[in-house]
Amino acid sequence: MTGALGRVVATERKPNTPHEFHFWTAIDSPVGIGTIVRVDGAQPMDGQIPHIYGIVVEGFSYTDLQSPMHDVLGHDGLPTMAGYAATERAEIRLYTAAVLRQIPEEPLQPVPMGQVFLAEEADVQIALRMDSYLREGANTGIPIGVYRAGGTEAVIYLDADFLLGPEAAHLNITGVSGLATKTSAVEWLLASLFRHFPEEKGSIAAVCFNVKGPDLCYLDQPGKVEKSDEALYEKLGVEAKPFQKVEYFAPYTAKGLALNTFRNNEALLDNVTPLTWGLREVLQFAEVLLNRDDIDAKADALIDFITDSVVDKEFTDPLLSKKHRVQSFADLDAWFRDVLQGMERKDGESWRTHHVATIRKVRNRLSNISTRCAGLVTDSGAVSDLPFGSFEDRTVYVVDVANLEEDAQDLIFARIVSKLREHLERRDLGVKHLVVFVDELNKYAPGDGADTYVRKMLLDIAERGRYLGLVLFSAQQFRSQVHRRVVGNSGTSLFGRMDPDELSTPGYAVLSPATRTKLATLEKGQLMIRHPHFTQPIFVRFPRPAVMQGREGSERYPQSSDVSLEAAILRALRPLDPTITLPWVQEITALYTPEEVIRARNATLLARPDNVKAYFTAQFRKIIPAQAATRPMAGSIKSAPENDPYGF
């Protein structure tokens, strides 16, 4: 045990309380904002020496100088002369610490006078109440980082029961953009979770929505790990390796040729799956794409009617000119056209209680969807989706929506989260616990603005997800602008370097000025943590994720630019069959329209057949090659009688 580094002091003007105390140290002591200390009381209580654990939240330094003017006078107004003074003025380092824990915990008394020691690793565990979940039998600690002060290095653990439920759940991270702290922290935490989440608590997977940039696009690729980080990894008990199981999902570009993701380099396509949905998938979430004015009760009723009675069914009606089977947006448009023409013929204003204006409006809005979400929504109805029902343990599923329009992003988010929720409710997702990571919460769950479908979903996860095993890891730049119920329901909060303007908002008033200053100047790789077991925020350092960073990845694996149709087909199919060549593709597709070629590719990618060439070829209709045209012999024209007025 090291010697005392300070002494508790209290005055009438600055007394100690049960939750705060003051102490002074030598000038060169290794104490700073965020340092955890232990006070050993001098007087035993019930035969036990009280130990008080605290974290430094404020620091003061001053000399016996009464006025700055005295220093000016003392050195004749020349700052350079101060260095020649025979003696330095008496100086104090006075710190204020917030109490983390008192032992014994009852009776809760003001902090007594006593010596102050730097907390050692065992002290840190007690101070942060980690001893309750690191003990034999509990074992629910998830390393989040290393606390460092003086010579102390202590691993800080989060309690899995309070991170993933059932006690509390969810995690929110705030920090300025550009330092990669938020993404790095989440990547590191997922790695730690996958390594340390207790087997007996069941399987776990993560679905990450990549909403901007390429940061999450190379989770399976190794990144640079510095020596210092290697030591951190070892201390934290996590291997410095990229994620072993990662699956990527991304829709196509509007042209439908290439995947709309930063990770569309041919070398990385083996675990990238297209994300395409048809009419049925979209109609269930039409509300997401229609604004509040669109979805009045009448429109809603018509959409429900179409979903329940029209889509994927043989639909007949006396009004219609023919029988319809609606399976795609193209079919739906034909159905709408027939309905409206029938109403025009009858000169009727309504059909099956739906007013013609409502029908026109819904047709207009729904037909528009395939255009607004081109690449994701297919006219053909082909569906390529996440493996709902067969999610695998310790696997990351990344859905790349970074390059999509806002509507498409909302649709993807709403549908995937709904499906996840449905499966978790039925306990058939494939894993017991699922982490959903969403960045840019300022955009998706703002504190003000319209009550969107996505925000409602995020609120639902935040408030009820933990009962299902659905846990939200969310991130944003400005926590103060996120819906209060989303961040309020996050049991654990992480803070990277913060914007000073954000820190001046009322939500941070509970932090001391010194803590706020530290937050505004945090280095990359440092976090402040709030966790239900910790009565005060704690500063930790975490290792840089052992995965390739977005910038490096996009340089090493450049995003493929738009290519020809044949080249796009080649790139899509070659991961399934390396023997496929460009001439072969050109030969097979030469006679068909781009739509037919793309449809064949999508079907092949969905089926992943053993014989890729045969399957792909079989998707095309038979076209008999045109015979060379021969000019028919022209017969003689019978001349008409000149006087035949009728032309016979």
């Binding site: 016996d64 100088l65 009464q66 006025s67 005295h70 220093d71 006078l73 003392g74 050195h75 004749d76 020349l78 002369m81 101060a82 020649y84 003074a85 025979a86 003696t87 330095e88 003025r89 008496a90």
Partner: protein
Amino acid sequence: MLVSNSSPDAASRAAIRLLMEWLPGASAVEGSTDLDLSSRAEQPQLRSAQIVEGSTLRAVNVPDVTRTMASGFGAFLDGAQKVRVIGRDLNVPLVLGTTSAAVRIRVNRRLVTWEHQPPRLEQKLYLPLRYLRPLTETLRPSSQTKYGQFQIVDTSTPDSSGEYPIEHPTVLLERAIRAVDRQRDALEDELAEAWCAIGGAPLFIDGGISRSERVASSAKAIGVIKSHRTLYVEGDALRTVVGLAKGERSSVFLVSPRSRSEVMSWYLRLRDPAGHDVLWGLVRVEMSRCENPTERANEISRWVLAETSPLALPDGRWDKMSYGIRDCEEFLRAIS
């Protein structure tokens, strides 16, 4: 010397409780506080002194005084005392005296307490036992003995002419105050002698060095006197001293106080007195006798001048006080 004034403390309360057990007629003084001893000073006087640097006292410009000159002092010594009338037994004042002294050494330009000789701190009861019959019977025959947790100093012993103090309360209080003074002097001398026997660089002592022969004869002890109730100059010499400009010193002269050791001394002006009283920024420096008083006085004067930075503010005596002595006083205030 520090004279502090503070509210009643635990020691005072413990002392009066103890005394009231043995002195049935004793009563506590309500709200007793430390006496303000600053006004208690000897009569101002002028004394002639033997000049040892030349034949007449003159002003000497201390050579090589620069902004960057270094000080040769390695430590500072000061003492403190508190006198509190905690009770009375009829007309007899019951006095609790607290005396302390410390040496603060300079390490890397910061002052810390000398480890070799820890600071001295004593709390004693100063009582005229002759007029406190029950206690006299208890404590006889020793004039200074232990009473509970407190040492007792008898302040009613006969003086050098064999006279006992009269029973006048003011006389008895004066006797107690002088006894406390002596006790503080003893503590200071004890530390100064220890320094002279062991210490390294010269010691800056707040006050004179002539009380102790061992200190007065040591080249390691330099006394700096801020108060000038006695001026060792008369006539033209007095006018020379009060006319000293900043950075000037007087000629060195010999000081031979009664019953004390003879030491060399000179006046030194630390700060420009323009706009202030004539004694502003004036100190008298004492050192042991030496063969080369001029060089030595110049060297020590430079050291004392170097100690004027940083300022000893907010102490009211900052014009004469060095920061090291202020640090000693603050230290003693903290521990006593």
